[in-house]
Every structure is written in structure tokens, then in C-alpha cells.
């Protein structure tokens, strides 16, 4: 078994209203960052996972996303294994 650092990114689906992202975009505009046309706010999770292989660590993390970390109705996720 090897210790892997798995990073999971959970983002609201593009078509959905993301009020947090809109609020951040408004605040950036107020600060003069007029070049920002859109902001989306998601979640970044860092997991330390014991797994026999890199692929297995990624597969387990995807299973975790399916069951708990992301809600398939409104969120998409990406899994990246950073080291190991």
C-alpha cells in the first residue's frame, strides 16, 4: 500500500445559478476588476488515501464522490492523484 494525495474538485454545473459565484463577481467588479466576466465557486478537497496503485486511489476517490462528496443532481467533480 502507498499513501497518495488525492485532490478532488467539486463544481456546480455550468447551467445552474451559482449565487456565491455571482456575489464574488459583483465584489470583484466593485474593486475595479472589470475584466472578470464570470465566477464559479466550488469545493476543493484534499484526501490522503492508502491504495495499492495510483489508479486504485483515483477509483476509490471517484467512488467517494459518487456516494458523498458531490451531489450528481447539481455538481460535477474531477479527481487528480498528486503523488505516490
Amino acid at each position: 500500500m502507498t499513501a497518495y494525495r488525492v485532490e478532488v474538485r467539486v463544481m456546480p454545473r455550468g447551467a445552474l445559478l451559482d449565487p456565491q459565484g455571482e456575489a464574488v463577481a459583483h465584489a470583484l467588479h466593485a474593486l475595479g476588476f472589470a475584466e472578470v466576466s464570470r465566477v464559479r465557486v466550488g469545493k476543493h478537497l484534499v484526501l490522503e488515501v492508502e491504495a495499492p496503485t495510483r489508479d486504485e486511489a483515483a477509483a476509490r476517490a471517484r467512488a467517494m464522490c459518487d456516494r458523498l462528496l458531490a451531489n450528481p443532481v447539481v455538481e460535477d467533480f474531477e479527481v487528480a492523484v498528486r503523488n505516490g
Binding site: L17, P19, L68, V73
Partner: protein
Amino acid sequence: MHRVAVIVFPGSNCDADTLAAARAAGSDAYYVWHRDTDLRRADIVILPGGFSYGDYLRAGAIARFSPVMSAVGAHARAGGAVLGICNGFQTLCEAGLLPGILMRNARLRFLSRPVQVRVEATDTPFTCLYERGETLELPIAHGEGRYVADQRTLAELEASGRVVWRYVRDNPNGSTDDIAGLCNAERNVVGIMPHPERRNAPVLGGSDGARVFQSMEACNATQLADRVRAVGDSQLRV
């Protein structure tokens, strides 16, 4: 008199009001801690409002994996009545017992104030004493009440009359199609964002919510008893 299990999660904060409202309606109501796996022969299960597990990750996302939730799922699948109020509604959605999800309010703020809702369906165990089209004043107290579901689910909810309550006059949280509460296809699992348990006596500012609890006493016996009995689940006492 029905046995009503009020589930208590760490972070539930409407459990005592819900228990009192159920008892005021004549139910034999009692608490079941989220670590218990036995609903103690409950006829009806209520998931109360609150902030289970601090709303970490997503509201209700962690509560749905509490040990008691397998028993709640089995009770629901056997036809037993289940009501989720506010955080309980969020938990039922996360558990897949109701479709869709409740997301951050459109204007981001936590809202705690009375709203008006219209009763859209009276053929559920929690609304049978209401008139269809009746407008109620009930308080909301939530930060994540914006109902979202895919187009197919929304079409199905409308086609089968599964929207049970709808916000009228103003939609406080940006909820899709003004949905304030809904039920599953079998109509035994119901979720509502406003708090009927906070309006069940004049001293609380109104009684518009009382019939949610009176309904479960009055209707569950007559309308749902056959279905429950037919399932033959020893856990369900009619």
C-alpha cells in the same frame, strides 16, 4: 393514536417543537437518536429541522448516512409515512427518498420570516385535512431552500401532482417553480421547507401548521393503513 418517531441528529434544533406538535395532535411521539437502528414500531417518522452535522459538505449530506437512516429508508419503502421538515427535507433529498436537492438561497442570505404557501396536494398523509388551494402562513428559517431538480424530474412532479406546497406572492429563496414542498411517487414521503411545527397554536402566532400533524393522525389510519398492512412488515404496526 399513532406512534411517531422524531429522529434526532447532532445539530437538530426543531426536534422538541416537532415532538410537541405531534403530541398536541394526539400522537404518541418519541425521540429516536440517530445512532439507533430501531424505530420502535413507528407508524410515522419525522426528520426535524436544524443543522445536522453543521451542514458540512452539503445540508443533510452526512446525516443521510447516520445509522438510523437505513431504518427510515426501509420504513419508507414499506409504505410508511415520512415527513422531512427543513433540514429533514434536505436529508430526504440527499438520501434519495425524494428527488432533487435544496441549494443555497438565490440571494445568499439566511431567511427567517413568515411566508405564504398554497396547499397543492391533499392526498398525502400530512395534508389530508387541508383544502386544495388553501393559503397558509408558515415561517421559514433556512439558508439552503432553493429547490433544484433536472427538467425531467420537474415535469414528472408537475404531471403527477407531487408538488405539495408552493410559495405564493413571493418566492423567498429562488426555488424552482416556487416549490416549497413535495412528495415521492408513492406519496408517503413528504418534504417541506417551512416549519409547520412553529405555527400550531394561536400563542405561536397562528395555527396554520397544526393540520400537518392532525392529518397524520386522521388520515394515516384510514388512507394508508391498507397499504401498510399489505406490506406485512412486522416493524409497521397499524
